[in-house]
Subunit: 319 residues, 2 copies
């Protein structure tokens, strides 16, 4: 076992959480949550998406949200976008720390459903993003391979579909004398299991040894934190999470039951600290932010640690 | 890594789940849940406790519940008890598959709070249980070391507190020429983390090499399934779980937020199957039982897999 000494955990809750809700939450509440997260030691917070306001009406006021937050020095406030138009909107705002990113799906059916084009065409479209990053001098931070573990529309995804995209990315970057971005494997629809995490992490590492590898894991089927542990065992040091597990999908007509969202950031932090791995994050402050998120959303978000509390008081004998 | 080929998972949901509720649920509903669990392939179901009806009023009708269930051949319907009086009540009923069990706490304060005597006295009290098992010819199935990972009243629990109890149990059994029971480490208050699971499992294995080791894990702080994975990596093949994660503790005045209960049985099964480990359990039938439990309890039980669904339909292309 070769645990990393320290890991980077990037927060996606504000974007994942409110993007999926039907209700539009007040701007002030969403800004308050981002501001609370800014005080936890997180170094990167994804605030909102620049996507079609028709497709995702809750993100229509993304610009206003970025303008409303209190920017804390040392924290990057990033955005999600899935095409050049969104990238340009993001870049046009001084209040956004726009990152260079490229996005892939592993299967045609998922790419067609979510981006209206086959996977290979979506892949080739990313060349324009790469070239824009070169032109603008924006570092290419991440290559996101979505549906990296399985696809609800077509089933199992072969490992080669993932490594092919990693290799393609590396080749494009080498041809342009650019650093290779982090290759982020996203378990978009909750197929990952611990040994599959290990297999795919190692396959990507073998295919592109110089790339940093990251994981974006959902907890759809309850294995999220076990998948994080498996990744740590392989030395992965880059994770994305959502405070309070934001991003769950409420079921219509099923009370407040819901499909789980991302792995809860505070549970990744807790796991890391219990393993002696540094995160730079204040766990109790992050739990407070999770409880604030729950108060804003107005229903039980289902996180475990946020309700169980940390062990700090018990360990120090102040229980 | 040496995963077991197959594991045994014992179901504690009916006992854990209803024991903790303030409301008394109809007997017919609780029997319906046990009957649903009987059809999943589980080989052992803990139905109810024989404990003080003053302390735990929801378990006062334990005898009636055992009489109401449809016993399925090949399934053991067991009980929880914490003293000889409970053991004798359990044994007096033909409808109960009474197991020989002994119970320990690792700290005086927890033992005093829960059993009104110091840990060492509680340990020595177990000698009477061991001798009763000998007298009655009841196999001693399990030695339960509660608060095996930490104690909310005193903090960290040294590993030696756990191994001492395992060694004491082994010595008592050897002196009586009895087989050594499974040593079950119970994370009563949610302190376990994956590497601590490995350390304690290995320490007990070193101390009593011939004992089978089991784990009873709570998901209080979100690491439950990662702890199961860590145990599987060490070859542990005996687990207890609660369907739908029953056993959570509702917080007064905090909406339906709650501290999480046991690790959800269906998520242990799912993890095992994804790792190629056999359980003998029909995952989709168990998910249906989890949804029945949620319907009976009447609030979101927070299980992930039960709401996300299994991958069976997606894999077979029938999504």
């Amino acid at each position: 076992m070769t645990f990393p000494k320290a890991i980077e955990i990037n927060e996606e809750g504000p974007r994942e959480g409110f993007q999926i809700e039907k209700k539009h939450y007040p701007l002030a509440d969403r800004a308050e949550l981002v501001d609370a997260l800014s005080e936890t030691g997180l170094s990167k917070i994804q605030v909102a998406s620049f996507v079609s306001p028709k497709a995702v009406p809750t993100m229509a006021d993304a610009s206003e949200l970025f303008a409303a937050i209190k920017r804390k020095p040392g924290v990057a406030y990033t955005s999600l976008y899935l095409n050049i138009k969104g990238f340009e909107r993001s870049r046009s705002l001084d209040t956004v720390d726009t990152e260079g990113r490229i996005h892939f799906y592993t299967t045609d059916r998922f790419a067609l459903q979510n981006n209206n084009r086959p996977a290979e065409q979506m892949r080739d479209d990313q060349l324009a993003m790469i070239d824009l990053c070169v032109d603008y001098g924006v570092p290419l931070e991440g290559a996101y391979i979505m549906t990296a573990f399985g696809c609800n529309l077509t089933g199992e995804v072969p490992i080669s579909a993932v490594t092919d995209l990693a290799v393609w990315t590396a080749e494009q970057c080498r041809a342009r004398h650019m650093p290779i971005p982090a290759i982020v494997l996203a378990d978009t629809v909750g197929w990952a299991s611990p040994n599959e995490v290990k297999r795919r992490v190692n396959a990507v590492r073998d295919a592109v040894p110089e790339a940093r590898i990251g994981l974006h894991l959902h907890d759809t089927r309850g294995l999220g934190i076990a998948n994080v542990y498996a990744a740590l065992e392989e030395g992965v040091d880059l994770f994305e999470g959502s405070v309070a597990g934001l991003g769950g999908c409420p079921f219509a007509g099923h009370g407040d039951a819901m499909a789980a969202g991302n792995v809860a950031t505070e549970e990744i932090v807790f796991l890391a600290h219990e393993l002696g791995i540094e995160t730079g994050i204040d766990l109790d402050a992050l739990i407070d932010a999770a409880l604030l998120a729950e108060k804003i959303i107005g229903r039980n978000l289902g996180g475990r640690l946020m309700h169980g509390g940390s062990l700090k008081a018990y360990r120090s004998g102040h229980s």
